[in-house]
Each structure stands twice: as structure tokens, then as C-alpha cells.
Symmetry: C2
Subunit: 233 residues, 2 copies
């Protein structure tokens, strides 16, 4: 069995676990289940993955790769300005989170790990096996890649004039990303039943896109003249 066949088997196990995690969740999925679904013995799963969490990290890697595709798909289409790209990115980001809940939860869980990882005092809180995992290291890279792609969009926007030139691209993009993270977690996917109004990503997306525009172009003042009833910004 060459390296290729081994990778193929790893993939088989990975896909089985993705199916199960999606269906029943991480905790309800037993290693025995993963083994059965992969048609191998339980012990063998530990030959291909160090432990359950390592397997989960592999799933997370797959998840973040797909999220990165969302980023890539947008920037690879030429002929649009940076602002439009970021607007579409936000739409697709929410769509991704909604349609791939388990994947997105894994990504968010990873973001929590990154926090610990970046703090010398807290780094020790991470399971050493996870830290050593190749998946974790690769995840850090993919995370960074996404940051780079997004930053490129801002750079592009500044070049083509759709974004204010005085903005610092990297910080600006991470600010936008942070907003996406927060909105998704607090409001999505079903939103929040307020006292006066039902707030959710769908009804509220136009407001967000406008906020994005205002932020990046600096056009708040201009739009203030047409107050829309119940509008957000």
C-alpha cells in the first residue's frame, strides 16, 4: 500500500466521520461508529488518526479549506471592484455558515484554539496531541491564507477607487471578517426574535451591505438625507 492508497483510506475515514458528525454531532458520534461506517475495525482508525480530536482537526481542516474556496471563488473572477467582492464575500460567508453548520462550528472552535495558541500563558491549555497535529499547523496556514485573500480584496478596492485610500487593508479586512463572525453567531441562521421586530440575517442583510459601503466608502453623511423607516444604517 503506497502513500496514495493510504491517503485514500484516510479520506474514506474522514468522509465517514464528516457524515456522522454532521448527522449526530461530535459527542454523539462514537469511534466505533466511524469505524463501522468506514468498514474497518475500531483499532485501525487509531492507526490513521492519533485520536478522536485529531480526526476532528482533520475535519476542521477540510472545513476551512472549503471556506477558503469561498474566498478564492470570489477573488478569481476579475472585472469587479473590491467593494463588490467584499459584499459578495459577506453574502457567501453567511450562506456557507448556514449550509455547513457542522463545518462552520468546527472553524469557530478552531478560532477559539487560536486564541489560546497566541497566548503564551494559555498555550498549555491545548491538548499537546492537537498542537503537534499536522492538521493544526496546516489550519493556521489556511486561516492566514483567508486573511491574505480578503486583504487583497481591500487592496483591490483601494486601487479601483471603490474603497477609501486611507484605510489600512489588513486591519480593515479583519474588521470585516470579525463582523461576519459576530453576526453569524449572534443572529444567524434563524436570527433573533426581538420585542418589536424579528431580526435575522435575511431581513437584515441589506442593512449590512449598506453599512459595509458606508464604512469603506465613507458615505454615511450622504445617505443620511433619505431616512428609511426602520432601516439600520
Amino acid at each position: 500500500m503506497g502513500a496514495q492508497e493510504r491517503q485514500q483510506k484516510e479520506k474514506l475515514i474522514l468522509e465517514a466521520s464528516i457524515r456522522l458528525f454532521t448527522e449526530k454531532g461530535y459527542h454523539a458520534t462514537k469511534m466505533e461508529d466511524v469505524a463501522k461506517a468506514s468498514k474497518i475495525s475500531k483499532g485501525l482508525t487509531y492507526f490513521y488518526y492519533k485520536n478522536k480530536e485529531d480526526l476532528y482537526m482533520a475535519v476542521t481542516k477540510k472545513a476551512f479549506d472549503e471556506l477558503k474556496d469561498v474566498f478564492r471563488d470570489i477573488i478569481k473572477i476579475k472585472g469587479r471592484n473590491g467593494l463588490d467582492m467584499l459584499t459578495e464575500l459577506s453574502n457567501n460567508y453567511f450562506k456557507f455558515a448556514k449550509n455547513n453548520r457542522m463545518f462552520y462550528d468546527a472553524i469557530l472552535n478552531f478560532m477559539g484554539l487560536v486564541q489560546l495558541y497566541n497566548d503564551e500563558n494559555l498555550k498549555s491549555n491545548i491538548d499537546p496531541l492537537v498542537l503537534a497535529s499536522e492538521h493544526f499547523q496546516k489550519l493556521l496556514e489556511v486561516h492566514h491564507d483567508c486573511g491574505k485573500i480578503g486583504t487583497q480584496m481591500v487592496v483591490q478596492g483601494i486601487k479601483d477607487g471603490s474603497i477609501r485610500p486611507e484605510l489600512q487593508p489588513e486591519a480593515t479586512f479583519y474588521t470585516i471578517w470579525a463582523m461576519l463572525v459576530g453576526y453569524e453567531r449572534l443572529l444567524g441562521p434563524v436570527g433573533f426574535e426581538g420585542k418589536d421586530a424579528k431580526i435575522n440575517l435575511e431581513t437584515w442583510k441589506p442593512s449590512f451591505n449598506r453599512l459595509l459601503q458606508d464604512m469603506l466608502k465613507g458615505t454615511f453623511q450622504a445617505q443620511k438625507v433619505q431616512p428609511v423607516q426602520g432601516s439600520l444604517f
Copy 2:
């Protein structure tokens, strides 16, 4: 043993578990540990709390109560305008997240549950024992309370003229809250080591406060005349 003494014992267990969860994390803390730290037998913890997750929900309740205090502390001081309140809220919110990591993680975990809870299709994914837990129900209320207090700040701001009157208070506040959630998760507490610059909550807080101002007052255009090197907005 009356109801009072029972509550006191519950509190004892709760505090012990808070200590342990903070020190070692949820998974590394065993029920045996909690029992020992509370100087009772393991079995007895199950007399006071249905199971480990129920205990964690109680911890989460305590956490959210303290977060609510952050909200309350701000609004109870009179004589400031709404915008200033929201600015201070954001500062204190980040401070809270940083100084009470375990608590804040519990709150974020709860927010994930709320997502499932609000979606009829996904509600069944929540452990029935958690759903039935009194703590969970109370948490929904506290969550809502925080939303109300924050909304009040926006209302106040509109009244005193520090916030644009065309904004819809509730949606506006949840937008701000969403930002706080996202920033904390993506950037805090140590921030993010970018290629060109180190981004973290501390260095970047002024930019956020300014964004808040611009959003709520609609003053983007006005400030555009003084481009600060490397400034965010």
C-alpha cells in the same frame, strides 16, 4: 435543611466547579474533582445537579449574570449620553471577555445553543436535559435582558442627540453586540499577528470607537479630511 441551606450547598458546588473549570477547563474537570472540592461525595452532586452539563449550564447562568452586570453598571450611571454609554460598554465587554475567559466561553457556547434552539429543525440536537433545565430557560431571559438594556442605550442616544434618529434601536444594538462578539473571537485577547502589523484589541480599540461614532452619528464624511496613517476608519 430548608430551601436556603439547599441553595447554599448548590452555590458551594457551583463555586467549586467554577474554580475547577477555570483552572483546568470543562473536560479536564471530572465530577469526582468537583465533589472533592465541594467536600461531598460524587453521587451527591447528582442530587443537586442533573448531570455535568446541567452544572455547566448553572455556571453559564452565573457567567451571563455577571455580563449583565456589566451592562447594568453602565446604564445606571446617569448624566452620560447614549453614545458614550455604548463606547464604554464595548470597552468593558472586551475587558470582561479577557478577564473571564471561561465565563465568556460558556456564554459563547450558549449562543451556539440558542441558534439550535431558534431553529425548529435543529432544536432536537440539544440534549433534552439541557432544554428542560431551569438554567437554560433563565439564560434565555438574561440574554434578552442584555438586549433590552443595550437597546435602551441606543434609545437614550437618540433622545439626547448623540445617535442619529433614523436608526432602529433594537437592530442597531444587536448589530453592535454582534461586532463585539466577532471582534473578541477573531482578534482578542492577544490579537492577530498580521504580515505588516500586529492587530489586537488594545491597539485597535481607538479605531473601533471611532467606527462606532461614525456609524451611530453618521460622521464618516467629516472625518475623512484628516487621514491618519494606518488608521482603520
